[in-house]
């Protein structure tokens, strides 16, 4: 490794949520300014508040020989500081802070520690291209959430009517909409476990949603007792569709979502663990990849500017993955997972790994243009 580490970003300290580089130059435009007085009492005011985002800290020693330094700390980590401010001197530095409680530490004062409370969300101004990426993906998200609501209705009706054969036919078609947008659904706390948990993912007695019904249809061969589960599923997907409309999205997050979708494929689809009763895993496989592709297409204009070569490679790799899936297509779905040989799954896994390794570079590659 021979890059100059201009800013030490604490890559190993996973909790750091602060922009790495404090700066003592001009504060970034739009920064909130907080002024402190260094006195024998400590730094005044002891309590301060600011909105999340860039903050300029100004400090002036108004006659203290005991206090000559001000530090902004998160826990025991120093995020920024100004030292050697003797009587009459002033100085400044700026930081970009996320919401949270920070300590204003002024050693030597009567009160050494003050509190800075940062609230709200950091509002970085996005570029027009980034806004376009978000709008593009939001449309996809809403279409699929809406599709999920519509497609769940006949499925739920079949389950309530006790029509096992029809419900089995509708199940994979409904799953597609969910699997395409799964990472977003996962961001809403307990909605994903309610809709999509597998039996061992949740405490006994809380197993509900798609996979509970899947188990009833394929394993138990009946829909007995499933009506309440099906009704709840309909409510849950409607709640999901409602939340999707207001979800806060950023281009980098969308790119990360594409990675997560391929992670889903590697972790549970290619292993046949997701649809353990129906064995319709390849349907989910394709839906995950479609969702990842849609997310990639949304941010592609950003990537085309920063790394067109990577962009072209990823596009080709998506084509390659879809081509690898093609031999297993059957009717409007895919062959059962149980029909795949080890050589088949190995090949499919390899194609996903190839694509995912490159796709994982996208978030950092587009971050600068956001």
């Amino acid at each position: 490794m021979n890059r100059t580490m201009l800013c030490v970003t604490s890559a190993l300290l996973l909790s750091v949520s602060v922009t790495a580089c404090g700066s003592s130059g001009d504060p970034p435009p739009g920064a909130k300014t907080l002024s402190f007085e260094l006195t024998d009492e400590g730094c005044l005011p002891h309590e301060s508040k600011a909105p999340a985002g860039p903050i300029a800290f100004e400090a002036e020693n108004t006659g203290s020989s005991k206090v000559t330094e001000i530090e902004v700390m998160e826990g025991e980590k120093i995020l920024g500081e100004k030292e050697n401010l003797s009587d009459g001197l002033s100085g400044s530095f700026s930081l970009t802070l996320d919401a949270g409680e920070y300590t204003i530490y002024c050693p030597g004062g009567d009160v050494e520690r003050g509190t800075l409370t940062v609230t709200g969300k950091s509002k970085a101004k996005a570029s027009p291209q980034a806004d376009a990426a978000v709008a593009h993906y939001r449309k996809y998200l809403e279409e699929n959430a809406h599709g999920l609501v519509l497609q769940t209705k006949p499925f739920v009706a079949a389950v309530i009517a006790g029509n096992v054969a029809v419900a089995k036919g509708l199940y994979p078609l409904d799953r597609v909409f969910y699997e395409r947008i799964e990472p977003v659904a996962e961001s809403f706390g307990d909605l994903d476990p309610r809709i999509d948990a597998r039996e061992n993912d949740v405490p006994a007695g809380e197993f509900e949603g798609f996979h509970r019904i899947e188990k009833a249809l394929w394993e138990e061969g009946t829909t007995k007792g499933m009506a309440p589960v099906a009704k709840q599923l309909q409510k849950d997907v409607e709640e999901l569709a409602g939340k999707v409309e207001t979800v806060d999205l950023q281009a980098v997050q969308i790119a990360n979502g594409a990675n997560e979708l391929l992670g889903e494929v590697s972790a549970s689809k290619i292993t046949g663990e997701e649809e353990r009763y129906s064995h319709t895993d390849l349907v989910d496989f394709e839906a995950n990849v479609e969702g990842a592709e849609a997310a990639f297409e949304a941010v592609k204009p950003l990537l085309d500017e920063t790394d067109p070569e990577l962009s072209g490679e990823i596009e080709a790799d998506f084509k390659m993955v879809f081509a690898e899936l093609e031999p297993y297509r059957q009717g409007n779905g895919f062959v059962s997972y149980t029909q795949l040989t080890q050589a088949d799954t190995r090949k499919l896994a390899r194609s996903i790994d190839t694509l995912a390794e490159k796709l994982s570079e996208v978030p950092a590659a587009i971050a600068s243009s956001e």
Binding site: N2, C7, G80, R350
Partner: protein, 411 residues
């Protein structure tokens, strides 16, 4: 600025000092790094040189070996892979981080990270090419294939599993730290994703050979000293005669060697029930001293002519006799194998363990093959072993800084 070693990276990333990360104080940490960088780098084996490291360099304690299938027949992609592997291997053997994106919050780090804080630990990375590489029409390498890189013929006693045999390209990573060896293969596999896919791999936990006079002869899983009579790196004449490819090979292989690997499963449950005397007669050496039967010192010459009660002291079917150079028209090989275990044999519930045999030579058809033809048919040891995996690779000479391993194949 000098490359940042894994140990120094730890300090620079702020996690070394009692978890106190000083953000935005890069200047301070950089200063500290240059101040005491000089004390580092012990335990490193140079990557660049006349020969690839990992052949005549002292055998380390741990192995991670991997054979890969090439997914693309585009020669440009293969060249790029070898270039990237060379750079990464040189970084890892020097105890540096792989790549240069390791501290960008939004990017997956180039280096997988499990060796951060670890010394180079004598890591060597040795790259080879299997016969099948030269049979891919798209690569157009058929004309570059060395005559010595003929697939091994079927050998007596073979019970080979194709899934654990062969491979277009191989990586032998050896280190004194198992995590460092694993890290090397893992990172090279990751760099190669899309161009190569791992076909099989083997971990080895204890060396079974010495390649230097400075090393003590280790024991294999049968409890026997193995490789006493191995070629030693200090014997440069023997190395030139038996190991390094000379003028007989194509120019791109001169200074290289041919590697044969054999996954040899030992039937340890059966071996453990054999009386000591039978064990010693099977091998031809005393179990504890390693001395030839009838002798007392490990390094005394094999008394192949000696008789006892009208029978050869070293039995006619003993392993040392059959493997000895004098019984093989003088053929010798450089052995560099490792003991392995992969848990439990699924069908029998027995220890899945044995020897991952690795040897280097100038011409397998004149060295390993005839030796194994004899051993495979009459060696008393066959009662206790099975050859279940096999591979052959052309190991090109070492690379020079700025170049890459296998470069000669494309020029």
């Amino acid at each position: 600025m000098a490359p940042l070693t894994r140990r120094r990276f730890l300090g620079a990333a702020g996690a070394g000092a009692a978890g106190l990360g000083i953000v935005g104080a890069g200047g301070y940490l950089l200063g500290q790094e240059t101040a005491d960088a000089g004390g580092e780098g012990t335990g490193g084996v140079p990557f660049y040189g006349e020969h690839q490291a990992g052949i005549d360099t002292p055998a380390q304690d741990r192995l991670h070996f991997a054979a890969f299938d090439l997914l693309s027949e585009d020669p440009a992609e293969l060249r790029e892979l070898l270039r990237e592997w060379t750079v990464a291997a040189a970084e890892m053997t020097a105890g540096e981080m792989v790549g240069n994106v390791n501290d960008v919050p939004l990017a997956p780090p180039d280096d997988t990270g499990e060796t951060v804080g670890l010394l180079p630990s004598s890591l060597t990375v040795t790259i080879g090419f299997g016969p099948s590489l030269f049979e891919k029409p798209g690569l157009g390498l058929a004309g570059r294939r060395p005559a010595a890189l003929k697939p091994l013929p079927p050998l007596p006693g073979d019970e080979l599993d194709p899934a654990e045999s062969g491979g277009d390209v191989c990586v032998q990573a050896c280190s004194d730290d198992p995590q460092v060896a694993f890290h090397a293969v893992r990172n090279l596999a990751r760099i190669g994703r899309g161009t190569v896919a791992m076909r099989w791999s083997q971990l080895g936990f204890g060396r079974t050979s010495t390649t230097s006079r400075s090393q003590e002869t280790p024991r294999n899983l049968m409890g026997m000293k193995d490789g006493t009579a191995n070629i030693k790196a200090e014997d440069t004449e023997a190395m030139a005669r038996y190991v390094w490819v000379g003028g007989e090979g194509p120019a791109w292989m001169r200074g290289g060697s041919y590697m044969v690997t054999r996954r040899i499963r030992m039937l340890l449950e059966v071996w453990d029930r054999a009386p000591l005397q039978d064990q010693e007669r099977t091998i031809g050496r005393h179990k504890y001293s390693g001395a030839p039967l009838g002798g007392s010192d490990e390094f005394e010459p094999l008394p192949l002519e000696a008789q006892q009660n009208g029978h050869p002291t070293i039995p006619a079917d003993s392993h040392v006799r059959l493997a000895s150079a004098s019984e093989n028209d003088g053929a010798r090989i450089l052995r560099r194998g490792y003991s392995f275990t992969d848990g439990v044999d699924e069908s029998l519930g027995e220890l899945e363990a044995g020897l991952f045999f690795i040897c280097f030579q100038r011409d397998p058809a004149k060295q390993f093959v005839p030796i194994q033809q004899r051993l495979g048919s009459i060696d008393a040891l066959n009662e206790y072993i099975k050859h279940v995996g096999s591979a052959l690779f052309a190991v090109p000479p070492g690379a020079q800084p700025g170049g890459y391993v296998g470069e000669g194949l494309f020029t």
